[in-house]
């Protein structure tokens, strides 16, 4: 990790360069950086030249191999999906959880389970719709409230800002459910030389993500068509549907994905990570199977929870069909290749990969 940079550098290199993912890692630490909706800004330079904000950011220099070694004890052998112990299909056994949650309800079921077992004392979750298109981050301290945060939103939100605030007060161990950029930022926090409470985060569940939408432009787009405060659910059904389904109190609308793509945050185009490669557990959909999740177990801590949850009948798993696995690999690899192309297009220099630092071997495999 590079040392000696602060909020002024963050503003220049990330915020003004259109690289901000709105993950919230830099927010809630100090009074200088604020977020409203998905807009992050340095309100006033703080004068600190070696700041947490710069150090935690998932879009400042990130050495992938070093992170692999720190988290997994070794560098990755799988270039498309990152380090993992197992990949399976999973679903929550409780049908209510399955119905409320996205796909198989595994994230909600595992989070509530980890809390009820005392593995974690509280979890930072994102409530997808709170009478607004904009999701809100909440600290859930009671496992019964987990389900109210179920579902996806596709709008980036500063979940880690809530984590930063929670870490100032919370002494209990924490869990978090986040997007790949948020999980990456969490790992950078845990690796940082700057003291912070992130070592208390004992369970990091990462979600699959291909892109997130910018609140402002998507909100503008929807405004004339529906009342954004009435949205209940956003859904992108598996291919070949190629559409975004918006479910509101007043009815359901569908938009072709191509129409939506212009609202994708510019930083998503340079994102290298589709499957939350640095999480304890990564969860996403299974193509063609509605009520099951793809579950990637990456760390021993993740494995332990999964084993217990299976034992206690919270979730069940079964092997992921080979076709699905290879599809997943292809999709993930495609995202990485596109990201590399886009980065080089932006920098105009094959050796300037912006925030990414990859081993030569990795780079060769991807190129």
């Amino acid at each position: 990790m590079e040392a000696g940079k602060g909020s002024t550098d963050l503003e220049k290199e990330v915020l003004n360069a259109g690289l901000c993912t709105s993950c919230g890692a830099c927010v809630g630490i100090c009074p200088y950086i604020k977020v409203v909706k998905d807009r992050v800004a340095v309100i006033e330079p703080c004068g600190i030249t070696d700041g947490k904000c710069y150090d935690f950011c998932p879009r400042t220099l990130t050495d992938i191999s070093e992170l692999d070694r720190r988290i997994f004890g070794q560098e990755r052998s799988d270039s498309s999906l990152g380090p993992y112990i197992s990949i399976e299909m999973a679903q929550a056994k409780d049908s209510k959880t399955r119905n409320r949650g996205q796909y198989g309800g595994v994230v909600s079921a595992l989070t509530a389970y980890a809390m009820s077992k005392g593995e974690i004392g509280a979890t930072v979750l994102t409530k997808p719709f709170n009478e607004s298109l904009m999701p809100t981050s909440v600290l859930v301290e009671d496992s019964s409230q987990v389900l109210s945060c179920a579902g996806s939103n596709y709008i980036a939100s500063a979940t880690l800002a809530r984590l930063n605030e929670a870490m100032k007060q919370q002494t209990v161990s924490l869990g978090i459910v986040g997007m790949p950029c948020q999980i990456l930022a969490l790992r950078k926090m845990q690796a940082s030389k700057h003291e912070n409470g992130s070592k208390e985060v004992k369970l990091a569940i990462g979600l699959f993500c291909t892109w997130a939408l910018s609140y402002k432009s998507f909100h503008e787009f929807l405004k004339g068509k529906i009342n954004p405060s009435q949205i209940k659910r956003l859904d992108i059904p598996p291919p070949p549907a190629n559409k975004l389904v918006v479910v509101t109190e007043a009815g359901t609308l569908e938009f072709p994905l191509d129409e939506i793509r212009e609202f994708v945050k510019p930083t998503c185009g340079i994102c290298f990570d589709m499957t939350s490669e640095f999480a304890d557990l990564s969860v996403g959909m299974v193509e063609g199977v509605d009520d099951w999740n793809t579950l990637i177990v990456r760390t021993p801590e993740g494995k332990m929870i999964i084993d217990k949850a299976k034992e206690d009948g919270i979730i069940e798993t079964k092997p992921l069909p080979e076709a699905n696995l290879s599809h997943l690999r292809e999709a993930s690899l495609l995202k990485k290749k596109r990201a590399l192309d886009e980065i080089v297009k932006r920098t105009g220099d094959k050796n300037n990969l912006l925030y990414l630092r990859l081993s030569d071997a990795e780079l060769r495999k991807l190129r």
Binding site: C30, P31, V35, A41, I43, K168
Partner: protein, 633 residues
Amino acid sequence: MSVIKIDRPGQSVLMMGNEAIARGAIEAGVDFSSAYPGTPSSEILESLARVAEHFGLYAEWSVNEMVSLEAAAAASLTGLRAIVAMKQNGVNVCSDFLMTVNLSGTKGGLVIVACDDPSAISSPNEQDSRNFAKFADLPLLEPATFNEAREMTKYAFELSERLGLPCIIRSVTRISHSRGNVELGELPERKRSPSFEGVSIAGAFVALQHAALHQKLEQAREDFENSKFNWYVGPEGAKFIIVTSGTGWFYSREAVAALGLDSEVGILKIGTTWPLPEKFIIDHLKPANELLIVEEVDDFLEQNIKVLLAEQAKTLGPIEVYGAKSGHLPACGEMNQDKVAKALATIKGVEYSGRDEAYAQRARELVQPYLSPRIPTFCAGCPHRASMWAIKSALKLDGRDGFVTGDIGCYSMGAGPAGYFQLKTIHCMGSGIGLATGFGKLGQFDFNRPVVAVCGDSTFYHAAIPGLINARFNNSNVLMVVLDNAGTAMTGFQPHPGSGIDALGEPAPVVDIEGICRAIGVPVKVRDPFELDEAIEELYDLLQEDGPKVMVFRRRCHLAETKERPQKKVFVDPDKCIGDECGCARFCSRVFNCPGIIWDPTTKKARIDEIVCTGCGVCAYLCPQGAIVIEGN
């Protein structure tokens, strides 16, 4: 007990110039008084309001100077005596009416007091209101001492009544806001009864009315020829004469004395400066061949004297005139004794120094390294500090290089470090929203920076409503932020139409700001600026909307608040304060800049200055470590 109420004729008491003017009005039996607050004029109406009940007179804070003059003129038109007071900018506001009430004429004595602010100590300009007297063909009086301020006011009522014309008194900061000996006069007993028959209506007769006005002014000139407010001191037959008015009298006399020129330089002091008492002046200038004109701000006297000299060239012969045009005295900024003495010394070819030059040099040297200027800031606890921070934050988050147009009030300081340099314009009352409506319509020229107009509550009523209506009518992209601190704070927290009390402190109906906005058809939100996160988010959201919209930041002036309620104690927990470290970097003392918070460089912790702190507690909300604690919370 109010000093202007004392009934002991002949006694000398300490009075502020503005109190002396109010006392003069009382001695003249004033019936009606009105004003809009403005430094340095506010104490005139404040003083009158305080004794209104006692003397059975009427006193009101009007919504602006135009209405104030119109209301006072109404009383005058019924035969009552009325006074209206304003700062120099207020004369501009009421000038439209002024330029016609001179034609219609008045009945009961109507005195307009214009208090100018040379050096613009508390103003956006330093205009010289005397020009309005000449412009409007109205008699003008300039007091030179505190007692003269009292006497002139009393006389102005009599003159106004005799001529059927409003009479203007021009004071300046150094008269209005200084104090000195005032000799009390008799208090009147007579009461007037109002009656109204209508006034002559302008139209086909305007030119005739104008001619009549000139005749009235000629009458005034005749009256001024024998006025006790004009005098000459100095040697008989002096070749060098200082002609002066107003505070120039003090400075001229002291400068002549300081240079030891009493035996050769005479001083001709004119108190009735429009129309000039020509015969009186010519008589006194006959022996002179050099003049120095001493006055404050414009070369008003100088130019009119020069015209007189030209007209009387045959009688007076060639006279050299020194003053603003010759460069010996400035035509801007406050006058003082040193400026006059230096001018006099230059003309006379003598040395002048207030003190030993080596000493002065050493004094400046010693002080130099220490003296960063003490720039005015918002008071400890001032809601504007939080409002400015919220506006700065919202504009930064918005990211389109938005900016703020300013207006007149305490928040004008937002242009400086107190308000994080947010205000980019400051002109006159109501100009913030007016400018903003223009900036907000430049989209077709690809100027799309968001514009925020700030305006105080008192300013809102005074002059901002037409601007807001214009923004709505023409659908301009502006966000107006009304900084409602529940009073006219800058000038001393006088009540206004939103205060719920009148000039006498009696209950009054409240004119609702949000209601006005809604009636105009503009979306309006209300928020306590101390709820900063919510305030920032709401401002941000409003900035994303097209068209005009209003945010009211409502929190009472903390200076007013602490006068009525005991203040809470606030302290810093040194164990929690992280000072210079990442996560704070001295936010409270270095950036938020409340004067109640001190950075202690030895302990490297913030500290509350218990004498300055007013206990508002917003710093406790802002501290990222929760290190600032409010006692009892």
